[in-house]
Symmetry: C2
């Protein structure tokens, strides 16, 4: 990741394409809302409204937007039950589940270093 230098040979073009795609995906998922959605869906399949309640502070719009993005990248699956009222369920796919364990790591990290970070803040607040 991060940065690589490519030549101008034909084979290098493929590497460059893959690299820019990697960046794009990284930017997509390295965002607060996307990660929180992944984390929430880790437990179980959830409906739109359930997700909204689960993820504190997310707006209707942001939830929709991020769900579309995650679906487009194949991280979640959207299942529509043609009932009245409609019932839409979101589930992690295999890639999504794999990412979830990484996100879990981030959450664990946050909990673990909470006190540590708080004291660092206090020190820098002098």
């Amino acid at each position: 990741m991060v940065t690589k230098q490519f030549g101008s040979t034909p084979e290098a073009a493929d590497l460059r394409r893959a690299d820019s795609l990697a960046r794009e995906i990284f930017s997509d998922i390295a965002n607060k809302w996307a990660l929180l959605i992944i984390e929430a869906l880790g437990e179980r399949t959830l409906r739109f409204t359930e997700l909204r309640q689960e993820i504190d502070g997310i707006s209707h719009k942001m939830l929709t937007q991020n769900l579309r993005m995650l679906e487009r990248n194949g991280l979640i699956e959207r299942e529509v039950h043609p009932t009245v009222p409609p019932r839409v369920e979101y589930t992690l796919t295999e890639p999504g589940t794999a990412l979830r364990s990484v996100v879990d790591g981030m959450c664990d990290w946050t909990q673990r270093y909470l006190a540590h970070i708080e004291s660092a803040r206090d020190r820098s607040a002098v």
Copy 2:
């Protein structure tokens, strides 16, 4: 993480405070630039300019801003050598190093599912 319900007892206040702090930290680090900086510093100590070259596409401003934030949270250490010209080096602290392994996981994940994601995009682009 995600969401919890607290009561109104005095002890609950502490939990609420810790929770809001956790959210704040999560929001801080769940951002593209911060994670890329952590990743870049994983290899070794780097100077400001080196970081800028290492992290492709980051602007002077964003780099400074995120470095300050990471320092404030105690994830990196800033060492100033009082020479001319100035020489400033950034190093991961222990919490920073711990987070780095999580970020590594994200990078690995990206590489691993690159093709998978690309095909998912193609399918949804119909």
